[in-house]
Assembly symmetry: C2
Homo-oligomer: 210 residues x 2
């Protein structure tokens, strides 16, 4: 509900109300809230009231910056540990991604799926449960999720191309190269988001002026 925008930033999340809305009791709702809180999608006051977290543009920059560092690290480790089988899995994920964006109407859902598989496979090869756990809290974010839908065709193809370059780094087992590409890949995604966000903000400002 938060990801889809159904629950706006700042909305209070009372356990009873959510329970009724979801048709379950408070117990599972409580557990879900705790998990969302650890993902920073939900914040709690000092008196334990829950609210949908308000993500300022600075928070988003913060998240992307950390994600760039951690995914870069994962790419380096993955390159150093890469097996031929794993490399083939990663290639396959990017092939699927490539097919999705070459359709007459780009298949954004297919792109997102291939993208997720691609990054998950790398994280898998990196072989650090802890790194995976840290990244898990950074990837399922409203912002990341909604960004791809604003991507134009050339942005999708640029992502695909960066993935291909990553694969080249993996094929050569070059950790430093892989880290550099991955860091740039994530930071480019951030700026794509920031630009789109600025554009949307200006647009809504113009609408308000009319």
């Amino acid at each position: 509900m938060i990801l889809s925008g159904e629950l706006p930033a700042g909305a209070q999340l009372a356990e009873e109300a959510l329970a009724e809305r979801c048709g379950v009791s408070r117990t599972p709702v409580r557990e879900a809230l705790r998990r969302l809180e650890s993902d920073l999608l939900v914040t709690r006051t000092d008196t334990q009231r829950s609210f949908v977290a308000d993500w300022s543009i600075d928070d988003v920059a913060d998240a992307f910056e950390l994600r760039a560092m951690l995914e870069g690290k994962a790419a380096r480790r993955a390159a150093e540990r890469m097996s031929d089988e794993a490399l083939e899995r990663i290639r396959a994920a990017n092939r699927r991604l490539g097919e999705a964006i070459r359709k007459p109407v780009p298949d954004v859902a297919g792109f997102l799926e291939g993208n997720r598989d691609f990054h998950a496979a790398i994280l898998d090869v990196a072989g650090s449960r802890r790194l995976a756990a840290l990244l898990a809290t950074l990837i399922e974010q409203p912002v990341v999720w909604r960004t791809a839908h604003h991507y134009g065709r050339e942005a999708l193809h640029r992502s695909y191309g960066e993935h291909e370059e990553l694969i080249a780094a993996f094929a050569r087992r070059d950790g430093a190269w892989a880290e550099a590409i991955m860091t740039g890949h994530i930071l480019r995604a951030y700026h794509a988001y920031a630009d789109a966000h600025r554009g949307l903000a200006e647009q809504s400002q113009r609408e308000a002026a009319e």
Copy 2:
């Protein structure tokens, strides 16, 4: 209980049993287990059974490596954002730490407290809730916690000295320097642990041979 070793690695954590042991009902125990799981102190099987996580030396290395990266990043950000007041707070924390270790019998608890305040103050200045959240899952670990008790006097003084060097980097607002010192500081702590661990392992091996 896990930190003190009262619950050994691999022990099953049944909610009912823990509840009785702690004199509460299953509900708060469940929440605690979920949190410990997200900190990787507890693992769950695919069928939701909880066990005390087994930390291999590789897992420990993994945790320290990530911690070194994240604390290094925090130090860099802190140096770039340092105010005079915050710098004084950090200096004060290290003064307390220094007093604790200069006593006739080093006050390890005092050292740990000063150390925690020192790192917390830096994280505070770094000003990234997200970075703080990620690091929180890495610092409260059985391993980190038990290591300081094996420190000799010179190891404690080396920590103090590295903190002083960090303060010098902060005073000059030199992010790159602060990051380098901090990364080294954490990695040195890791090797202190690894050496002690190796020593303990050999010792218990000798004892078994007798």
